[in-house]
Symmetry: C2
Subunit: 243 residues, 2 copies
C-alpha cells in the first residue's frame, strides 16, 4: 500500500525556522480551545499546557532540550503536561478522596495530553502555522519540573513550537503503511518488509542510512536509554510511580 494516498489535512512538516512575527491577539487561545475539543477519557481532561513567555525561561528550556534554538525563536512555545492534579483538586474541594492510580493515571493522562496537542497542531497547520514538537525536553525533565513549578500529579511530556514558517522543509519519510496497520492480530514483519522500510526510510539522513539515526536513539547506549534514569526519578517525584 503506497503512502501517497491523497491527504485530507494540511501537510505536516516539522518547521524549525520561524519568522520574527507574533501570532495575532487571541490566536493562541483559539488554538488551545481547539485542543480542548479533543476526545478525553471520562471527560477527565487530564492535561495542561504551560505557555512560556519569559525569554530567560525559553533560553533555559532550549538549552535543556539540546540547544534547540527554535524553542527561543518560535512565536509561541508550550509545554504539554499530564495533569492529574486538577481533578484531584476539584474532588478534594468537594469533600471526596482522590484515588491513587499512578499507572492508569500516567497512561490516560499522556493519551489525553497528546490527543489535545495533536488537535492543536492540526488546527495550527490548517491556518499555515509551522509546528515543531520538542521531545528533547525529556532530556532535562527534572529541571523542567523545577522551572515550571509543576506540582505532584503533573508531568512535562513534550514541548510545542508554533510560529510563521521561514522554511519549507520536505516531508520526512515514513515506514510502509502495512508496517503500522495490522489486521485482527499483530503481524511481526519478515525480512522483505524490514528491508523495504530500511530502503523507504533511507532519506531520513543525508548519508542515506536510517540505521545510523535508529541506532543512535534506540540501540543500547542510545538517547532513549540516556533519558531513562532521569525520567524514572521524575515519575517517582511527581507520584506517577508504582512498586
Amino acid at each position: 500500500m503506497p503512502n501517497t494516498l491523497a491527504p485530507i489535512l494540511a501537510p505536516h512538516r516539522t518547521v524549525r525556522a520561524f519568522r520574527q512575527e507574533p501570532l495575532p491577539d487571541g490566536l493562541l487561545e483559539r488554538l488551545v480551545a481547539e485542543a480542548q475539543r479533543a476526545a478525553t477519557d471520562a471527560n477527565g481532561q487530564m492535561y495542561c499546557f504551560v505557555r512560556v513567555l519569559a525569554p530567560g525561561l525559553r533560553r533555559t528550556l532550549a538549552a535543556l532540550a539540546g540547544d534547540q534554538e527554535h524553542v527561543v525563536t518560535a512565536a509561541e512555545f508550550l509545554v504539554a503536561c499530564a495533569d492529574l492534579q486538577r481533578n484531584a483538586r476539584v474532588l478534594r474541594h468537594r469533600g471526596f478522596t482522590p484515588g491513587e492510580f499512578p499507572a492508569s493515571g500516567l497512561h490516560f493522562a499522556i493519551v489525553d495530553a497528546a490527543l489535545a496537542a495533536q488537535r492543536l497542531t492540526d488546527a495550527a497547520e490548517a491556518i499555515r502555522l509551522g509546528t515543531c514538537y520538542i521531545g528533547g525536553l525529556l532530556n532535562g525533565v527534572e529541571e523542567v519540573i523545577d522551572l515550571l513549578a509543576l506540582p505532584p500529579g503533573v508531568l512535562p511530556l513534550f514541548g510545542i513550537c508554533l510560529g510563521w514558517p521561514a522554511e519549507a522543509p520536505r516531508e520526512r519519510p515514513r515506514v510502509a503503511l502495512t508496517s503500522v496497520l495490522h489486521t485482527d492480530r499483530y503481524d511481526a514483519q519478515g525480512t522483505p518488509a524490514i528491508e523495504a522500510d530500511v530502503a523507504a526510510m533511507a532519506r531520513t539522513t543525508r548519508g542515506g542510512d536510517w540505521l545510523k539515526v535508529l541506532s543512535k536513539y534506540f540501540a543500547a547506549g542510545g538517547t532513549m536509554e540516556a533519558r531513562e534514569a532521569s525520567l524514572r526519578r521524575a515519575l517517582a517525584r511527581q507520584q506517577f510511580a508504582w512498586e
Copy 2:
C-alpha cells in the same frame, strides 16, 4: 476566556450510533496514511494500529470494554498500540543490540500513538465520519494482549470506532481555557476557578452534577483505580515495567 472561540477543524463529538454502511474501499488506508504524517520522536513511529475485522473478535472486545455495542456496529474498529518492537526488530536484523528503556519507551510510544490517532480522527471528522475513542479497552488490557497476539514491546492503549454517524450529539462541556493554559509556571486554581469549572461541567450528566462522574472515575474506589492492577501486570508482561 470563553471556550466559544471560532473553531478551525471540524467539530469533534463522540459518536456512538453508526449507519450500517462500510467505508469506501481504500478510505481506512488513506486515514492511516494521514495518521502516519503526525510528528514522532526521532522519526521512531513507535505505534501500530490493529484493524479488527473478525466479527467474533469485535464482540469480545466490545464486551471487555464494558458492553460498548458501538465497537461492533462501527464500520471500522482500530486498536491503537504503543509499539517498541518494530524498531528493535529492524535493529536486530541489522546486527545492533536494541536498548532497554521501559519508562522512556512507554512515554514516547504512548505520545507517538496518540498523536497519530488524533491526526487520524481529525482527518476522519474532516470528511464527516463519526469517531469514538474507547478507553474502556483498558478494563480488559490483558485479554486484549492475548486476543490480538501482541508481543512484548507492544501495549494496547485505546480503541477507535469509525463510521458514518447515525446521531448528532451535542458538544460536551469542557473546563475553562484558563484551567488548562498556564503561563510560565503551573497555576493551581483557587476556589472561584474550581467552582466555575464545576458549573461549566454540570451538563456532563443529565442530573447536572459533574462530581458524580468525576468521583465515579477519579475518586478512591473509582474506575481509574479499578484499572490499575491489570494495567500494571500488562506493563510488566509487555516489558514496559521498571524496578
